[in-house]
C-alpha cells in the first residue's frame, strides 16, 4: 500500500501541483519550449496524467490515455511523490527500474534542470493546500 490512500487523492495532490508548475513562468516557459507531451503512468494507486507542453500554455489532463505522448514515464506513486521533493536518485531509479522512461531520453534529461525549482515548491505547495500529512521534507 502506497502513501496515498486513493487514486483520487493522489490525482488531487499531483495534478494540482502540476497546474501550479504550469503557472510558474520560470518553469512553464522552459517546459513550453520543449513542446513535449509527457504521460505519467503511476501505480499503487493507479493514475495516468498527461502534461501537455505542446500548446501556448501547459495543459494537465488526468486520465488521458489517448493522446500520443512524446515521453512516457512509469513509476509508483510513492516514487513520483519522492521525486518532487528532489529525493530520487534518477540513475538509481532508472537502473533498478523503479522509474521507466520510454521515449527520447535526451529530451527528458533536458527538462531536469528546468524543473529543479519545483523541488522547493512541492513541500510548500503541500503545506499551503492542506496536504501537510504527505510532506516528507
Amino acid at each position: 500500500m502506497g502513501l496515498f490512500e486513493s487514486a483520487e487523492k493522489f490525482e488531487e495532490v499531483l495534478a494540482g501541483f502540476f497546474r501550479q508548475l504550469g503557472q510558474n513562468k520560470q518553469i512553464a516557459d522552459k517546459l513550453l519550449k520543449s513542446k513535449m507531451i509527457i504521460r505519467f503512468k503511476y501505480t499503487d494507486p493507479d493514475l495516468v496524467i498527461v502534461v501537455d507542453c505542446s500548446g501556448d500554455e501547459i495543459d494537465v489532463r488526468p486520465h488521458d490515455t489517448e493522446t500520443k505522448a512524446t515521453v512516457e514515464m512509469s513509476m509508483t506513486s510513492d516514487v513520483a511523490h519522492k521525486f518532487w521533493f528532489g529525493k530520487v536518485n534518477l540513475t538509481k531509479a532508472l537502473t533498478r527500474k523503479e522509474m521507466i522512461a520510454k521515449g527520447p531520453i535526451p529530451k527528458i534529461l533536458k527538462l531536469l534542470p528546468a524543473i529543479k525549482p519545483a523541488y522547493e515548491m512541492y513541500p510548500k505547495y503541500l503545506e499551503e493546500n492542506g496536504y501537510s500529512e504527505y510532506n516528507i521534507h
Binding site: 537502473t95 522512461a101 520510454k102 527520447p104 535526451p106 534529461l109 533536458k110
Partner: protein, 391 residues
C-alpha cells in the same frame, strides 16, 4: 567518500590479442551459434577486414551469412531499418559488428528488432525497456574512442525527425568485445588523436562525475594512465602495435567507466558545438576538456589531485590544489603535442566555430542531458567565459 548508491554490471567478455580476429574459434564455440551477420562499412571492407573476418569465421566452422556495409557517420535510423531487414532475411543467429562507434551502435539497434521484433522507436527508445537478453552480438572496434563495445547505450540519428534517439539498456551490452590492435593500424593520425581524446574525455568525466563509484573510478583511472602514456605514440606511428593495443584497451576501460558514471559538461559543450557548427565530436572534446576541468575545479580538486600522478606529473610536496592544477596542465601538454603533430585543434577558432556563436553554445549547454551529471551546476553566464577562453 563513498557514493550513497551505485550499481556495477559489465557482462561483456573482453579478449585482447594482436591478430585475434583470425583466431576466434574458442570464443565462437562458447557462444555456440554458427551463422553470423556482419555489420561494417565500405572502407573497412575495401581494406579487406571484412573478408579477413569471414575467413576467420570459416576456419572456426562458422559462416558469414550476410553483410551490411552502408553504415554512415552518425548511426542512422534508416540504415538500422534496412540492415534489420537484411539480417532477418539472412537466417543469421547472431551479429558481428566490426567498425567504429556508428557501426557498433547500428548493430546494437538492429539486434533489438532482430531479437524482439516490434518498432524500434515506438517500442524501445528510452531506458531499460528490454526484458531479456538479445541474440549474440560480437563487437570488433576499429577505433579506440567510443567504448561502445562495452557500453549499454546506442545512439541513433532519426533523420526524418532530426533528433538523436538514445537506447540505454543493460541487454545492449555486447556478449564479446574483441580488441585486436591490428585492425586499428590503418586508422589515420587525425582520427587516432581525436578518438583517443574522446576516450580520455570519457574517462576523466567519468572519474570526476557525480555518479562515480570506486568501481568506475578503477576503470577510469586505468584508462587515463594508458591514454596519457600511449596516445601520442599511437598518433605518431600508427604501426606501433603496443600503443595501438594500449589505446584499444583504454577506450574499452573508459567505456566501462562512463557507462556507469556518465559524462559532464565537456561532452555537453561538444554536443552543442557539434550540432551548431558540425565540429567532430572528438575534436570538440579535445578543445573543451581542460576548460571543462577548470569550470568544475572547485568541486573536483581532490579527484584531480589524485589523477595527476597517473598522468605522469610529479606532485611531490604539492598542496592538493596545486596537484590538481597539474592534471589540467597534463591534458594541455598532451593536446599541445597532438596539435604540434598537426592532428588536433586546441582552439575553437581553428575548427570553424565563429566568435559570435559562443553565446549560443553557452546558452544551449545547460539544457544538454549531460549537464545533469556534471559536478558543478551548468550555468550559461558562468560557463561562457570558459567557452570564450576555448575560442
Amino acid at each position: 567518500m563513498l557514493p550513497e548508491f551505485f550499481a556495477f554490471y559489465s557482462p561483456t567478455k573482453v579478449v585482447y590479442e594482436p591478430g585475434i580476429i583470425s583466431d576466434l574459434k574458442p570464443e565462437l564455440d562458447i557462444i555456440g551459434i554458427k551463422k553470423y551477420f556482419v555489420v561494417s562499412d565500405h572502407i573497412l571492407n575495401d581494406i579487406g577486414l571484412v573478408q579477413k573476418l569471414a575467413d576467420g569465421l570459416a576456419e572456426a566452422g562458422c559462416e558469414m551469412v550476410g553483410t551490411f556495409l552502408d553504415v554512415k557517420q552518425d548511426a542512422r535510423l534508416s540504415d538500422v531499418n534496412t540492415c534489420t531487414k537484411a539480417v532477418k532475411a539472412s537466417g543469421a543467429e547472431g551479429i558481428i559488428s566490426i567498425g567504429g562507434g556508428s557501426v557498433i551502435d547500428t548493430a546494437k539497434a538492429v539486434n533489438i528488432i532482430f531479437s524482439e521484433g516490434g518498432d524500434l522507436v515506438e517500442d524501445y527508445s528510452g531506458g531499460h525497456l528490454l526484458t531479456r537478453p538479445l541474440k549474440p552480438h560480437i563487437v570488433i572496434p576499429t577505433t579506440a574512442g567510443t567504448g561502445s563495445e562495452v557500453t549499454m547505450v546506442a545512439v541513433i540519428y532519426d533523420e526524418e525527425n532530426k533528433e538523436k534517439l538514445v537506447f540505454a539498456d543493460k541487454f545492449l551490452q555486447p556478449n564479446l568485445a574483441v580488441l585486436d590492435p591490428e585492425v586499428t593500424l590503418s586508422l589515420p593520425p587525425k582520427l587516432t588523436a581525436s578518438t583517443g581524446m574522446d576516450a580520455l574525455t570519457h574517462s576523466i568525466e567519468a572519474y570526476v562525475g557525480i555518479e562515480a563509484s570506486p568501481f568506475s573510478d578503477a576503470f577510469a583511472a586505468g584508462a587515463i594512465e594508458l591514454i596519457m602514456k600511449y596516445l601520442v605514440a599511437a598518433t605518431e606511428d600508427g604501426e606501433d602495435a603496443e600503443a595501438r593495443g594500449a589505446m584499444l584497451i583504454a577506450a574499452a576501460m573508459a567505456g566501462i567507466a562512463f557507462t556507469h558514471s556518465m559524462v559532464g559538461c565537456v561532452h555537453g559543450m561538444a554536443h552543442v558545438t557539434g550540432a551548431l557548427f558540425r565540429v567532430p565530436h572528438g575534436e570538440a572534446n579535445a578543445v573543451y576538456l581542460p576548460y571543462g576541468m577548470e569550470y568544475n575545479f572547485e568541486e573536483i580538486t581532490e579527484k584531480l589531485a589524485r589523477l595527476a600522478p597517473l598522468m605522469d606529473e610529479d606532485v611531490t610536496g604539492l598542496a592538493e590544489e596545486e596537484a590538481a592544477r597539474k592534471a589540467i596542465e597534463a591534458v594541455r601538454k598532451l593536446t599541445g603535442k597532438l596539435h604540434d603533430l598537426g592532428t588536433l585543434p586546441v582552439k575553437l577558432s581553428e575548427i570553424g566555430v565563429p566568435e559570435d556563436g559562443l553565446k549560443d553554445i553557452a546558452e544551449a549547454v545547460p539544457s544538454d542531458g549531460t549537464s545533469f551529471y556534471n559536478p558543478r551546476e551548468v550555468d550559461e553566464e558562468e560557463l561562457l567565459p570558459y567557452i570564450q577562453r576555448a575560442f
